[in-house]
């Protein structure tokens, strides 16, 4: 192996190690608050992809930087470089590496992450919430509790919730940043998305607790949001009881 290659190898290792160190140290603090089990799967997948991306970035960067530093010619080059047309071993190793990496990414975090999400989605839900979207609001119905509201999404902590989403007019999307879960609301179709909130909190303390429209739907798209509140089961029951009382009174 020649001297140039050796230096690049070392430079690559150095950059990769520094990069991985940064990823491992910084990743946990990078994401906004996560408040659902599903959200943790998403964040873990993101972190793992960063870990995989670092050596790729580091390799290209190391080669580029080293080449720029040591192969540049001052002014117009007076002669040509060595006529290297190709190099089979290098190609072979490169193919092996990219194919291996791709396969790895597909399996993990791709397929494994999807499997984990699907396993949760297959669980019997503790609570079903129907969400109907319209320009530019949310009608949130709790069929079991027989209540509905346009004001906020209230959920009990630790319970597996299935959201059944549809739209009354154009496309919208159901998205709660703190849950990392998203699905389009399509007219004429019911789409489902699942979340298992595992941390109490509300919009007042953290704006990531919000139900935000994430599919362009017109003038009101950016303000099509309502607060989300994750509370203890007792509090949830009290809220539900109060809501149904209010509903009965207004009837």
């Amino acid at each position: 192996m020649n001297r140039h290659a050796l230096i690049v190898l070392l430079l690559w290792l150095l950059l990769a190690v520094v990069g991985e160190f940064l990823v491992v140290r910084l990743a946990p603090g990078m994401f906004p608050v996560v408040a659902a089990e599903e959200g943790e799967i998403v964040d873990n997948a993101f972190t793992f992809l960063m870990i995989l991306a670092v050596p790729v970035l580091a390799f290209v960067l190391a080669t580029l930087l080293y080449s720029l530093a040591s192969f540049r010619s001052r002014g117009t080059p007076s002669q040509d470089g060595p006529p290297i047309h190709t190099n089979r071993p290098v190609l072979f190793v490169w193919f092996l590496a990219t194919i291996g990496l791709t396969a790895l990414m597909i399996v993990h975090p791709g397929i494994t992450g999807m499997r984990e999400l699907a396993d949760r989605a297959d669980r019997e839900p503790d609570l079903v919430v129907k969400v109907e979207t319209m320009r530019f609001g949310w009608r949130i119905t709790y069929p079991e509790q027989k209540i509905n509201t346009f004001q906020e999404l209230v959920l009990p902590v630790g319970k597996h919730v299935r959201f059944e989403v549809t739209s009354l007019d154009v496309l919208h999307a159901f998205w709660v940043p703190a849950f990392r879960m998203k699905i389009d609301a399509v007219p004429g179709m019911v789409t489902t998305v699942h979340a298992t909130p595992n941390r109490t909190g509300g919009f007042q303390n953290d704006p990531n607790f919000r139900l935000q429209c994430a599919e362009l739907c017109g003038i009101g798209h950016s303000v099509m949001q309502v607060p989300v509140r994750v509370v203890e089961q007792k509090e949830f029951d009290a809220w539900a009881a109060q809501q149904s009382k209010l509903a009965r009174r207004s009837n």
Binding site: F71, H85, M114, W175
Partner: protein, 613 residues
Amino acid sequence: MAAASGLKPILKGLSFALVGLLIGAGLGLLFTSLTNRPSTEPVIVLGYVFALLGWLLGVGLWDAWGREWVGLPVQGEAGHDWRRFFRFTTDHKIIGVQYLVTFVVVMLLAGIASVLMRVELMAPGKNILGPNEFNTTMSLHGIMMIAVAVATIIGGFANFLLPLMIGADDVAFPRINALSYWIIPPVAVLLLLTPFFGGFDSGWTAYPPLSVINAHGQLLFLLAFLTFGVSSILGGLNFLTTIIKLRAPGMTWGRLPIFVWSIFAAALISLTATQFVAYGLLMIILDRVVGMSFFRASEGGNPLLYEHIFWFYSHPAVYIMILPAFGIALEVLTHFSRKPLFAYKWVVGAFLGIVGLSFIVWAHHLYTSGMPNSLHIPFMVTTELISIPTGVVFLAALGTIWMGRLWLTTPMLFAIAFVFNFLIGGVTGIFLADVPTDIQLQDNYFVVAHFHYTIMGGEIFAIMAGLYYWFPKVTGRMYHEKLGKVHFWSMFLTYNVTFLAMFWAGIQGMNRRVADYIPDLAGINLFVSIASFFLAASFLILVYNLVRSWARGTVASASPWRARTLEWQTSSPPPLENFPHPPVVVGHPYDYGVPGSVHAAPAPVGGGSEDER
């Protein structure tokens, strides 16, 4: 007076267009009164279609075809002064310049739109644009930039250079070539008119049902995109035929410059996939104008149909943008490293592999659309497979500069920056291709940052490399090297600051296509906005350099870079017939450092020797 006579074809086109507009609008009125559909949309559609026909006939179609058919004498070529740039000429070099200038202007307009957007996003709440104005500005920025990205290289660079590089005297269908350029101005006019018809708030993707029910501006957008598609298809057809049929003697497939290969690959996509977007847009137009039910749920319509059809085009379209950019970047890297292109044959294979794969990945845009979950894994797999051929392109780039004699001119700097930027764009594409992460990242600024890294950091940087590299060939003058370097560094740095920060905004939960956002994101948005203003300002250096150098730069020699490909073997700018003596190709274009190797022998005397590699 000279100006008026120089613009005669355009004035004629405009007046024919006006007549067409009146006829079409009249027919439209007739149609609405017959069908009792109180709507102005049929009037717009028919008015536009006839105006477009009128424009094309007036500007040159009649002179180019009609006169010949009815037996009238066909007029000769335009002269040599500036007027020829305003004519329906069939010289591929003039058409190339027409494309380039048009799209640089469109890009500046779209860039100004992005500056307006960034001003609005500087702080939460309303700053200068209301929500509807913001949406229109955003959508206009998107579609104009997409047009720039799709057509600048194929329409501009390939038109000028591809026939030269393969040793031909023109493209296969010169008149169709002119036609595909002259279709473009109406597209620009339509788009610029949209704000006067209520704008359109659907983004460049125009998802129904929103795009069925919103203001008339949407219809103008649909017609414009459709027209643009026609131009793309014709362009693809022309280049494929040119490459297959018009190569100079000795220019075997194994000796094609890599830029030509990249155009070949991109043209395959634009020839075929574009039909899908045409149909997608047609469906929306039919829903709007004649009340069909493609997207009306109560009649069994389904917006997902549009999403599939649209992305069946628009995903391959991103490779229409990036493949020619690979071509330019590899071309520049090779010549300025003074080394053969590394693994040439593998790169060609990779291009074709990307073309093949590009048709079977579209649904990675639809992970959260509500399509069946069973489709997630297949599309994730195909999408991530694209990194393998793309990786070959990267290996070729790195292998080419390795041990080279790097000549760090402005084009070379842009080509190297291309490798760096596109690396980030590509790798973040993987984050989106992965289903679990995309559930959070879809419709998020992470996506916005991803595609600005691939399109702007990738393709636009490659366009810049090409602009500087071929500037002497096109204009016959050198650009100002120092200014070029100043432009490079200011653009490279401000660009990366702007869009790296956008990834961060995305991770923090900034969703895209919003005029307003939660106050927590104020800091990062202010930062991005300020950086983007510096980025926009860096383009002023480019514009100044181009205008100044074209007018009075030092005169360029035939081959200022001592590059081996054919376009440098003729004068700068090339004569009308391209090569005084048709060239004969005898060797590989990239055999730098191979003693005694020759790419082309200028004068064919009994044919060249065939040394097969």
